[in-house]
C-alpha cells in the first residue's frame, strides 16, 4: 500500500523531523507537512485517524532515516490543518480526528457542479447513491466517506443550495 506512494524530498531530510525555531523556515516546513499528510491520507483512503496511530504511522515515523516527528510537533501540524479547514477533531480530548484532503466547501462545490451539469436540481438522493451510485462512478467524490460527505452537504446547506433530509433507511439530500 505504501509502496506506490511517492514521498517528497523533505521526508528524507532529517531537519524535517525537528520543529524549526526560525519562523520563516518553520512556515515552509509546516506547509510541507500539511501537504504530505493530505496526500498520504488521500492515497491510503484514510479519512480519520487517532493521534496514537499517527505517531506510529510511517507518515510521521521514518524508520529508515531513524527520525520521527515528536508528538508535540505532530499536534502543531494537526492544528495547522485544522486552521486550513482540512481537519476536524472528533472528540473533546483531541485524540482522534477527521482528515479531509479536500475541504468540505470544495467537495460541496464539486457535487453541486455535477448535480447542475446532469440537470438534476430539485432531485433527491440518498447519501449512498451520491458516493456509490453508478452515475457517479467517474466523479471524484465517488467513494467519499460519509463523514466528509455530510460536511460537504452541510456547507451547501449553508449556501441554501441543498437540504439534508431523512429518507426511509437513513439520510438523504435535496438539491435546489
Amino acid at each position: 500500500m505504501a509502496m506506490s506512494f511517492e514521498w517528497p524530498w523533505q521526508y528524507r531530510f532529517p531537519p524535517f523531523f525537528t520543529l524549526q525555531p526560525n519562523v520563516d523556515t518553520r512556515q515552509k516546513q509546516l506547509a510541507a507537512w500539511c501537504s504530505l499528510v493530505l496526500s498520504f491520507c488521500r492515497l491510503h483512503k484514510q479519512s480519520s485517524m487517532t493521534v496514537m496511530e499517527a505517531q506510529e504511522s510511517p507518515l510521521f515515523n521514518n524508520v529508515k532515516l531513524q527520525r520521527k516527528l515528536p508528538v508535540e510537533s505532530i499536534q502543531i501540524v494537526l492544528e495547522e490543518l485544522r486552521k486550513k479547514g482540512n481537519l476536524e477533531w472528533l472528540d473533546k480530548n483531541k485524540s482522534s480526528f477527521l482528515i479531509m484532503w479536500r475541504r468540505p466547501e470544495e467537495w460541496g462545490k464539486l457535487i453541486y457542479q455535477w448535480v447542475s451539469r446532469s440537470g438534476q436540481n430539485n432531485s433527491v438522493f440518498t447519501l449512498y447513491e451520491l458516493t456509490n451510485g453508478e452515475d457517479t462512478e467517474d466523479e471524484e467524490f465517488h467513494g467519499l466517506d460519509e463523514a466528509t460527505l455530510l460536511r460537504a452537504l452541510q456547507a451547501l446547506q449553508q449556501e441554501h443550495k441543498a437540504e439534508i433530509i431523512t429518507v426511509s433507511d437513513g439520510r438523504g439530500v435535496k438539491f435546489f
Binding site: P21, N22, D24, T25
Partner: protein, 375 residues
C-alpha cells in the same frame, strides 16, 4: 629568634592579658632551641614567654613586630603549632636571648594543647591592633614597619610589602569613611531639621567621596550608563590589552576567555566579573575599537569593531554545505574556533535563515536550509 627582648613579665599599665597557655615550646625557624617548656602569654601589646622552671627567664615580642601567623595542625607525635612570621628586629632593640638569627619566623608548639583558642585570640589581637590606640611605656617598642639593612627571607618580603600597603590603604579608607559618615550625618540632620541649606561645598565633598569609593556619580550614569570613572579607565585599558589577542583569534573572543586572559596578566588585584562586564558595556560608547556583543542565547563576546560576524556566517554556510551537515563540535574543529563561539556562529546562521537544524538523540546537527532554497 633575635626579635625577643628580656622582660620582667609584668604587664604595663593599660596593657591587658588576653590569654595564657602552659606547655609551650619555642622553635627558631625549624630548629629546636633550649626554650622547651614555658607559659605563653598574650596581651594587648605583646607575646610573652616565661620558662616554667625558671620564672626569671622571661622574654617578649611586641605584637607590632608580627607580619602574619599560620596554623600547623597536629600530627602523629607532633603537637599543633602556630607559626609566627616577624618583621626584622629594630637595630636599637633591647637585649634578648639571641643576638642574631637567620630565621624571620618562630614556631610555638603547644604540647599541652590550647593551640586553637590561642590562635583565635592572637588573630583577633592582630586584627584589632589595640596596641596602636592604647599607649604604654617606652619599654614596649611599637614597630610600624619593616626596617632596612637586614637579611630577609626570600618570598615573604613581597607578601609583607603588599600586606603593609593594603593596611595603609585600609587605614586611609577607614579615615575617609569616618569623614564621610560625619558629613552624611550632618547632611541628614540638616534635611531633618530643615536647618539651612546644604552648602555647595558639602555637596562637592560628598560627590567626590562617592566617586573615590567607586560609586557612580549620577551625572556619569546618564552619560555612560551605569559606568563610573573606574570602569571608564578600565575600558580604555582593556582596549589596549585585548587588541592583539583578538586579532590572533579571528576578531572575536568569549567574555570568559577575556576574563581569564586579563586576570592572568594582572596577577594580584584581580578583576571581578562584574567590573569586567561594566567596563565592557562602555566600550562602544567610548568609541574604542572593540565592542561587547550579547547573543540571543545570552553568551557574551568581545568583538573587534572591524569584525563582521554576519559575514562569517556566509563562509560558515559554505563549510556546512561542503560537509552536508555539521555539529558545533565538528564545525569548531574544522574552523579552529572554540565550540562555544562555533555554536553561536551556527545559531546566527540559522537565525539568518541560511541553516536549519536536526535535533535528535544523535545530537544537534546543522544543515543548509533546503526548506528555503529547494521548492
Amino acid at each position: 629568634m633575635d626579635r625577643f627582648v628580656w622582660t620582667s613579665g609584668l604587664l604595663e599599665i593599660n596593657e591587658t592579658l588576653v590569654i595564657q597557655q602552659r606547655g609551650v615550646r619555642i622553635y627558631d625557624g625549624e630548629e629546636k632551641i633550649k626554650f622547651d617548656a614555658g607559659t605563653l602569654l598574650l596581651s594587648t601589646h605583646r607575646l610573652i614567654w616565661r620558662d616554667q622552671k625558671n620564672h626569671e627567664c622571661c622574654m617578649a615580642i611586641p605584637l607590632s613586630h608580627i607580619v602574619f601567623i599560620e596554623e600547623q595542625a597536629a600530627g602523629i607525635g607532633k603537637s599543633a603549632k602556630i607559626v609566627v612570621h616577624l618583621h626584622p628586629a629594630h637595630p636599637t632593640k633591647e637585649p634578648g636571648p639571641f643576638q642574631s638569627s637567620k630565621n624571620s619566623y618562630i614556631k610555638l608548639s603547644f604540647k599541652e594543647h590550647g593551640q586553637i583558642e590561642f590562635y583565635r585570640r592572637l588573630s583577633e589581637e592582630m586584627t584589632q591592633r589595640r596596641w596602636e590606640n592604647i599607649p604604654v611605656s617606652q619599654s614596649i617598642q611599637t614597630n610600624r614597619g619593616p626596617q632596612p639593612g637586614r637579611v630577609r627571607a626570600v618570598g615573604i618580603v613581597g607578601i609583607e610589602r603588599k600586606l603593609e600597603e593594603k593596611r595603609k590603604e585600609t587605614d586611609k579608607n577607614i579615615s575617609e569613611a569616618k569623614e564621610m559618615v560625619e558629613l552624611s550625618k550632618s547632611i541628614a540632620n540638616k534635611i531633618k531639621e530643615k536647618q539651612g541649606d546644604i552648602t555647595e561645598d558639602e555637596t562637592i565633598r560628598f560627590k567626590s567621596y562617592l566617586l573615590s569609593m567607586g560609586i557612580a556619580n549620577p551625572v556619569t550614569r546618564e552619560t555612560y550608563g551605569s559606568g563610573t570613572q573606574y570602569h571608564m579607565q578600565l575600558a580604555k585599558q582593556l582596549a589596549g590589552i585585548l587588541q592583539v589577542p583578538l586579532e590572533e583569534r579571528g576578531g572575536i573572543m568569549s567574555l570568559t576567555e577575556v576574563y581569564c586572559l586579563v586576570n592572568r596578566a594582572r596577577g594580584m588585584e584581580l578583576l571581578s566579573p562584574e567590573d569586567l562586564v561594566n567596563a565592557c558595556k562602555m566600550l562602544e560608547a567610548l568609541k574604542l575599537p572593540l565592542r561587547l556583543r550579547v547573543f540571543d542565547s545570552g553568551v557574551m563576546v568581545i568583538e573587534l569593531q572591524s569584525h563582521k560576524e554576519e559575514e562569517m556566517v556566509a563562509s560558515a554556510l559554505e563549510t556546512v554545505s561542503e560537509k552536508g551537515s555539521l555539529t558545533s563540535e565538528e564545525f569548531a574543529k574544522l574552523v579552529g574556533m572554540s565550540v562555544l563561539l562555533a555554536k553561536e556562529r551556527l545559531l546566527l546562521a540559522e537565525k539568518m535563515g541560511h541553516l536549519c537544524r536536526d535535533d535528535s538523540v544523535e545530537g544537534l546537527r546543522f544543515y543548509p536550509n533546503l526548506f528555503m532554497t529547494q521548492s
